[in-house]
Amino acid sequence: MIETKLGEFEEVILLLTGILGEEAYAFRIAEEFESQTGRSVSIGAVHSTLTRLEEKGFLKSEMGKSTAERGGRRKRIYTITAYGKKTLTAARDFKQALWNQFPGFAIRMDGIIGFTG
C-alpha cells in the first residue's frame, strides 16, 4: 500500500512542484496552491510539507539563485525525484482502480433523473 505514504495535501504539493518546475520554491508553491485550489495556506505549512516530502525521498532540493526582491537571499528549489513521480502515478492508478470498482452513478440516480426529468 504505497499510496498511504501520501496524504491529500502532500499529493497536491507534490503535483504543484512538478508543475512549477524551475520555479518550485516554498513561497511560489504556496501562491500556486492558493490560486489553483482557492484555499489559503501559510508558507510555513507548505515548507513543512516540502521538508517532509524531501525526507521521504519524493523530492530533492538545492539552493537556487538570489533575486533582488528577496533582499539578495537565495531560494530553495525543489525538484521531484523519479521515486516521487512513480509514487504519484501509483497513487493516481490506485485511485483509478478504485473508481473502476465504484458502482455507476446512472443506476442509482435513475429514478431521480426520471423524476426530475
Binding site: 520554491y25 516554498a26 513561497f27 504556496a30 501562491e31 501559510s42 508558507i43 510555513g44 505549512a45 515548507h47 513543512s48 521538508t51 517532509r52 539552493m63 538570489s66 526582491e69 528577496r70 533582499g71 537571499r73 537565495r74 531560494k75 530553495r76
Partner: protein, 879 residues
C-alpha cells in the same frame, strides 16, 4: 517609500528558526510581503507577515535547543549524577546538611501537626460562620454563658435569629455515673451536658444511630458519644434503651435516642448530651426566669444569611435592658452581652465558665514561630555550608562556564543538587517522624498521626521542594555568578559580600537559638516559682474523693467517720469546692452602711466544719466553723481580699455584718473569722474575695470529701480507702484524685510549652551547632597553610586556637546582643499571663549567653585544636 517587514516579527523569527533555514525562509517571507504590499494596505501586509512568521513555529523549523525535552532530560540526569557524586565525595558535609535539614523538617512537621490539630476545632458545623455564642460581661469580668431566658428572648425579639439553643454544664455534676440495668455495667462519665431540644438544629453532630431531627424532642432523651456507647453496647444500636444516670440528688432514667461521632473536634467535648427537659434539673431550669443572675447557660444562636453580626451585637445590650431591666436593678449590677463566632471559640476564648479549658492562640503563635524558625535554621545551615564549600566548586563552575554552560544551566544544576539533598532529608525525616510521633503524642497528650491530616503528603512534598529551593537558591545564584577568569586564575573567591552574608546567617541562627534558650530558662524558672510558692494552704498529701451519687451523699458523714478511724487519715472535710478546681458560685455582698449599688463579688465555697484545719489555712482573726456553735448557718469566714474590698479592717472585722439581697429580701450574714489570703485559684490570677460558709442557703452540693493524709505508701492507703468506701457505698463507683495534681492541672499549658520549648531548643542548638561545626572545619581546612606558616614562625597552639575561634565567638556575642532585647520582650509578654511571676533578672541572660558561648566554643574548639596541633610539615610540603 519603501516599506520594510516588521522588525519584531523578524526578531521573533530569528529567535526560534533553525539557522540553516534562515536564508530561504526570510527570502520567501520577504517576497510574500512585497507581493502583498502591491495589492493590500501596509497594515494588512504586515499583519499577513506576522501570520506567516507565527505559522513557521512548527517542529521542523524550530531550532534544536537545550530546551527541548530529550536534551533537558539528559542534563538533569547529569546534574543528578554529579550531585550524587558530590554528596558521596563530601560525606561529612552531606551528613550535616541532610541530617540538619531532616531534624528541622521533623520538628517543623510535628509542630505543624499540633498547630493544625488545634486549628481544626469547630470547623465542621454546618453554617458554622453564622453561629455565635452569647457571652456576658459583669463588673469587667467576662464569662461565656448567659442567664436562662436570653436564648428564648433572642429568638422572640430578633427576626434575624434563625434558631437559638442552650447548653448547661450543671455545677457539681462533673462526674456522672451512667448505669445500664440490663448488663449491670456502670461507669463514671465526664462531660455530660444538658441541652435544649433545638441543640442539634444549631450545632452539627454526626449521628451513627438515631435521627438528628427528632433525637432530642422527647423529655429525658439522651445522646451518647461513640466511645461511651461502645463501652456499654459494643457495636449494637442502643436507641430506645433506657439507662440510669446517678446524680448527687438521685437516680434518673434517660432513653438513649442516638449515638454521635466524636471524630470532629469541638470546644464541647461531650460524652453525654442530656435533654434539658428532664426530671432532675429540668424543674429548676424551668423556673429560671431571671435575666440578671445564674449566668450558667451557654447560649448559641444561628443568624440568618447576610446578617451583620456586629450590628446584631450592638443591639444585644439594649435588648437585655429592655427585657431584664427590672432584674438587673434588683440585683444591683449592670450586664452587657457580646458574641463569639463559633469557629473562633476554641482558640480565642479564655474567659470564665468555659465548657472546658480551651486552647490558646498565643501558644499556637509561639509554636508556629518555633516551627518556622527551626526550618529556617536548617535551611540556613544548608546555605551556609554550600556557599562555604563553593571554593572547591568554583573551579568546576569556571570550567563549566568556559565549556559553554550558561548561567541558567548552572542555577538548575545547583537547585537540582539541593533538591536532591532535601528529598533525601525528607526520606530521613519520614523515618524520624514515624519514630517521634508516639513520643510527641505522649508529650502533648494527644493522639496525632500523619494520616489525620488529609493533605499532609501534599504538604510535605511542597515543604521539601520549597526547602530545597530555599536552601539552594542562594548558593545557586552565588556560585553561578562567578566569573570564570577570576575563578580559574587563582584564589579570589571569598568576596567580601559572601563572607558577610555567611556571617549574617550564623548570627541569625544563633540569635534564634539564644532566644529559645532564654525562653526555656525563663519558663523553667517560672514553673519552679509556681511549684515553690507558698499557696497559703498545704497541698501535699491531700486526697479528694468525689461524692457525686445520691448514695454517697446520704452516707457522707458515715464515710468521713469511718475514714477518720484510719490512723493515716489525719483530718477530713466535706466541701463544694477545693483549691485548684473551678468554682463559679458567687454572691454580691455589701458592707454595713452601704447599699446594693456598692457590692463586692465574693466567691462562695460551701465548707464542712473542718475545712480550715484540713487544708491548713491560716486563720488570722476569729474562729472557723464548729459543731459547738449552732448559729453558724448565717456565718461566714472571709479572706483578706474580701475584707479589704468590703472596706473593713482585718483586725476589727469579726462580729460585723455583711448583706446580700435575694428575690427582693435582704439577708444578713455575720463575719466570724478572717483567713489569710490563700490561692484557691492558680497563680495566673490575683487572689479574689472569697467566703467560706456552712449555710445551706448557698445550696451547692458538698461534692467532695477532702482527706489530709500521712503515708509513704499511697497504693496501700488508697486500697484501704476503697475498701471502706465499698463497705459504705456499695452501689457507687470509687474514684479519687490528688489535690496537688488537680491544682497543677491549671498549668498544663505552661508545662506543655516548657517541655516542647526544651526539646525544640535542643534541636535548634543541635542544628545550629552542626552548621557551626561544618563551617569551622571548613575554615580550618582553608587556612591550613596559614596555620602551618604561623607555627613555623613560632605561634603557640593556644594562639592558633584563639585565632580560629575568635571570629566565630565574635558572631555568637553579636547574636547574644541581638537576641537579648528580643528575648526580654517575649519573656515580658509571656509573664503577663500570670498575676504572680518571677522577674526577668540578669542571671537568665548571663546563663543563656554563657551556655551559647560554651556550646559554640566546644563545637569550634575540636576543629581548632586539631588544626592547631597538626604538623606544619604536612600542610606545607606539597607546595
Amino acid at each position: 517609500m519603501k516599506q520594510e517587514s516588521p522588525k519584531t516579527a523578524n526578531r521573533l523569527l530569528t529567535r526560534f528558526l533553525r539557522s540553516d533555514l534562515a536564508e530561504e525562509v526570510r527570502g520567501d517571507l520577504e517576497e510574500k510581503f512585497l507581493l502583498d504590499l502591491k495589492t493590500k494596505s501596509v497594515f494588512k501586509a504586515k499583519l499577513i507577515y506576522w501570520y506567516q512568521v507565527i505559522n513557521y513555529i512548527r517542529p521542523f523549523a524550530i531550532r534544536k535547543s537545550r530546551l527541548s525535552y530529550l536534551n533537558n532530560y539528559d542534563m538533569f540526569q547529569s546534574y543528578f549524577k554529579i550531585g550524587w557524586r558530590n554528596l558521596l565525595h563530601n560525606k561529612g558535609f552531606s551528613f550535616i546538611n541532610v541530617f540538619g535539614l531532616a531534624i528541622g523538617m521533623t520538628a517543623c512537621v510535628l509542630i505543624m501537626l499540633y498547630v493544625v490539630d488545634e486549628m481544626s476545632y469547630d470547623k465542621h458545623h454546618k453554617d458554622g460562620n453564622r453561629i455565635y455564642r452569647i457571652a456576658s460581661e459583669v463588673k469587667s469580668e467576662k464569662f461565656v454563658a448567659a442567664s436562662a431566658p436570653i436564648a428564648e428572648g433572642l429568638k422572640k425579639d430578633f427576626p434575624e435569629v434563625e434558631q437559638s439553643t442552650r447548653l448547661l454544664r450543671f455545677p457539681g455534676t462533673d462526674k456522672m455515673v451512667v448505669k445500664d440495668e440490663a448488663t449491670q455495667k456502670q461507669f463514671f462519665e465526664m462531660n455530660g451536658f444538658y441541652v435544649d431540644s433545638t441543640f442539634l438544629q444549631v450545632l452539627t453532630y454526626d449521628l451513627i444511630f438515631g435521627d438528628d431531627k427528632t433525637a432530642l424532642n422527647d423529655p429525658n432523651s439522651m445522646l451518647l458519644s461513640e466511645e461511651v456507647a461502645a463501652k456499654f453496647f459494643g457495636n449494637e444500636n442502643p436507641v430506645d434503651h433506657v439507662m440510669k444516670i446517678t446524680l448527687p440528688f438521685g437516680d434518673f432514667n434517660y432513653t438513649v435516642k442516638g449515638v454521635f461521632r466524636t471524630n470532629k473536634k469541638s470546644h464541647i467535648p461531650a460524652n453525654l448530651l442530656l435533654s434539658m427537659n428532664n426530671s432532675d434539673v429540668g424543674g429548676w431550669v424551668k423556673n429560671q426566669h431571671n435575666w440578671a443572675t445564674n449566668n450558667l447557660f451557654h447560649t448559641y444562636v444561628k443568624l440568618k444569611i447576610a446578617t451583620d453580626p456586629i450590628y446584631f451585637e450592638s443591639k444585644l445590650t439594649p435588648f437585655l435592658e429592655r427585657n431584664g431591666g427590672q432584674d438587673l436593678k434588683a440585683a444591683g449590677f449592670s450586664k452587657s452581652l457580646f458574641i463569639q463566632p463559633l469557629p473562633d471559640i476554641y482558640l480565642h476564648s479564655d474567659y470564665g465558665f468555659e465548657v472546658t479549658p480551651n486552647g490558646s492562640i498565643k501558644y499556637l503563635y509561639i509554636f508556629f514561630s518555633i516551627a518556622v524558625f527551626l526550618l529556617l535554621i536548617a535551611c540556613i545551615n544548608f546555605m551556609n555550608l554550600s556557599t562555604a564549600r563553593s571554593e572547591r566548586r568554583a573551579k568546576e563552575v569556571g570550567l563549566r562556564k568556559v565549556i559553554g554552560a550558561e548561567k541558567h544551566a548552572l542555577i538548575s544544576q545547583f537547585l537540582t543538587e539541593s533538591i536532591l539533598m532535601s528529598v533525601l532529608a525528607l526520606l530521613l525525616a519520614f523515618l524520624l517522624i514515624q519514630l517521634a510521633i508516639p513520643i510527641f503524642n505522649q508529650l502533648i497528650n494527644k493522639q496525632l498521626s500523619l494520616i489525620q491530616l488529609p493533605n499532609v503528603y501534599f504538604w510535605l512534598v511542597g515543604l521539601t521542594i520549597i526547602t530545597g529551593l530555599l536552601a539552594g537558591l542562594y548558593p545557586a545564584f552565588y556560585l553561578s555568578s562567578f566569573k570564570p577568569v577570576t575563578v580559574l586564575k587563582g584564589k579570589l573567591v571569598n568576596t567580601f559580600s559572601g563572607v558577610m552574608i555567611r556571617k549574617g546567617l550564623v548570627v541569625f541562627q544563633f540569635t534564634i537559638s539564644i532566644v529559645l534558650i532564654l525562653g526555656a530558662i525563663l519558663i523553667g524558672d517560672q514553673m519552679r516559682f509556681l511549684a515553690n510558692t507558698d499557696l497559703g494552704f498545704n497541698k501535699n498529701q491531700k486526697i479528694v474523693l468525689p461524692i457525686q451519687t445520691a448514695e454517697a451523699n446520704k452516707n457522707a458523714e458515715a464515710l468521713k467517720a469511718a475514714l477518720l478511724a484510719n490512723s493515716k487519715v489525719i483530718a477530713a472535710t466535706h466541701a463544694s469546692s477545693y483549691p485548684g478546681i473551678e468554682n463559679i458560685n458567687d454572691m454580691l455582698f455589701y458592707a454595713e452602711g452601704k447599699s446594693i449599688n456598692e457590692t463586692v463579688d465574693i466567691i462562695m465555697c460551701n465548707a464542712g466544719n473542718d475545712y480550715i484545719e484540713t487544708l491548713d489555712i491560716e486563720l488570722l482573726q476569729g474562729r472557723g466553723f464548729s459543731k459547738e456553735f449552732m448559729g453558724d448557718s448565717a456565718a461566714v469566714v472571709l479572706n483578706e481580699a474580701a475584707i479589704k474590698q468590703l472596706g473593713y479592717a482585718a483586725a476589727s472585722a469579726v462580729g460585723k455584718n455583711i448583706y446580700f439581697e435575694w428575690q427582693g429580701k435582704k439577708v444578713t450574714m455575720n463575719i466570724i473569722g478572717v483567713v489569710k489570703n490563700y490561692h484557691f485559684q492558680s497563680l495566673h490570677q490575683e487572689v479574689k474575695p472569697m467566703a467560706l460558709s456552712v449555710s445551706p442557703f448557698f445550696g451547692l452540693p458538698m461534692s467532695y470529701l477532702i482527706l489530709d493524709t500521712n503515708t509513704n505508701d499511697y497504693a496501700d492507703l488508697i486500697a484501704l480507702l476503697e475498701k471502706t468506701w465499698k463497705k459504705i457505698n456499695s452501689g457507687s463507683p470509687f474514684a479519687y484524685s490528688f489535690l496537688e495534681k488537680d491544682f497543677q492541672k491549671s498549668y498544663e499549658k505552661e508545662e506543655l510549652t516548657l517541655t516542647l520549648i526544651r526539646y525544640f531548643t535542643l534541636i535548634a542548638i543541635v542544628i545550629a551547632c552542626l552548621g557551626l561545626f561544618g563551617l569551622a572545619s571548613f575554615t580550618a581546612e582553608q587556612r591550613v597553610k596559614e596555620i602551618g606558616i604561623r607555627k613555623v614562625l613560632g605561634s603557640s597552639v593556644s594562639q592558633i586556637v584563639m585565632l580560629l575561634s575568635k571570629d566565630f565567638l565574635k558572631l555568637v556575642v553579636i547574636s547574644f546582643i541581638i537576641a537579648s532585647p528580643i528575648g526580654y520582650y517575649v519573656m515580658k509578654q509571656w509573664l503577663q499571663g500570670f498575676a504572680y511571676h518571677v522577674n526577668v533578672s540578669w542571671w537568665i541572660f548571663a546563663l543563656a549567653g554563657t551556655s551559647a558561648l560554651l556550646i559554640a566554643l566546644l563545637t569550634i574548639g575540636f576543629q581548632s585544636v586539631r588544626a592547631a596541633f597538626a604538623n606544619p610539615v604536612n600542610s606545607l610540603k606539597s607546595e
